[in-house]
Amino acid sequence: MTTDSMTSRAQDAKPIGYWQKMVNDWSADKEAFQLSWGKLMMWIFLLSDTFIFSIFLISYMNVRMSTTDEWPLASEVFALHVGSANIPLLLIAIMTFILITSSGTMAMAVNAAYSRNKKLTFWLMVTTALLGASFVGMQAFEWTKLIVEEGVRPWGNPMGAAQFGSSFFMITGFHGMHVTGGVIYLAIVATKVRLGHYDQKGFQIVEITGLYWHFVDLVWVFIFAFFYLW
């Protein structure tokens, strides 16, 4: 930044305001985003991913609003038998808590990484990955139950509107693939942290990995609300 041109604008004494800061960032003759490229690219990727999941959820809204058939009751479809009781959405609730817990361990891994505690970072990331893997496992169980026991197919189901199956498999399938990809990503970065590959470069990669993982949790918040609860 050319400091002499900035100070000549007679604003040197005043602290820079919120919006003034943005105007300065965009109008200065340098890069607008004062972030490392890796982090910025992850944010931009997540923005594009937001659009992808939005399109899935919006198309789900469209088919649910426009169907004249009865929409299957998610609360009953996803109920789980425990003993003789039928608890609604039990498995989905457990999956939600698992994903939130994994987000918590991920946040702590980022914290540990910045205090350069490699061992703790590694184990927290491994814990996050294992929680993610158990989430995918439960999803596999849920899909199996839905396909084999309830007879849900992408083109129809015995409970009501045919669009239920296609929306469900598309949305949760794509999310499950994101979780799976995240588990692999976490495993790779955790191993590289352990091996000391970031000792020179710094540990921002853990924060970037964390951004992706929290995003996967974020998407689940919306799927949980719109698909399972609505």
Partner: protein, 108 residues
């Protein structure tokens, strides 16, 4: 840039608080279904808990609250396009629904 060189410096307690809040909010949104609230009460509660959870995850876990305002605006503005899109597709869905009703009633 000094802040980014050092990385995130928040007390670990902040993460535990947010974690706890997310657990509470998830439980509350589950209870909305468990107690079978219906109608506008159900929908507004679902949306309220959803936005609170999403806000906490983005602001604290994803560190968004402490990012430069330039990034915040760049990421926030495109989201408005999604809202417009939701409106367009909802209008379209209503139109399809009405046409299906008319068809099933057997009008010429």
């Amino acid at each position: 840039m000094s802040e980014h060189a050092e990385g995130q410096q928040h007390p670990i307690g902040l993460y535990f608080k947010v974690w706890g809040l997310l657990f509470v909010l998830s439980t509350l949104s589950y209870l909305v279904d468990y107690f079978q609230f219906q109608g506008y009460l159900r929908w507004s509660l679902i949306l309220l808990f959803m936005f609170l959870k999403a806000g906490l995850i983005i602001a604290v876990f994803m560190h968004f609250a402490w990012e430069p305002v330039t990034l915040k605006i760049a990421l926030f503005l495109p989201i408005l396009a999604i809202l417009v899109f939701i409106y367009f597709i909802a209008v379209e869905a209503d139109y399809t629904y009405l046409n299906r009703l008319i068809y099933s009633l057997g009008e010429p």
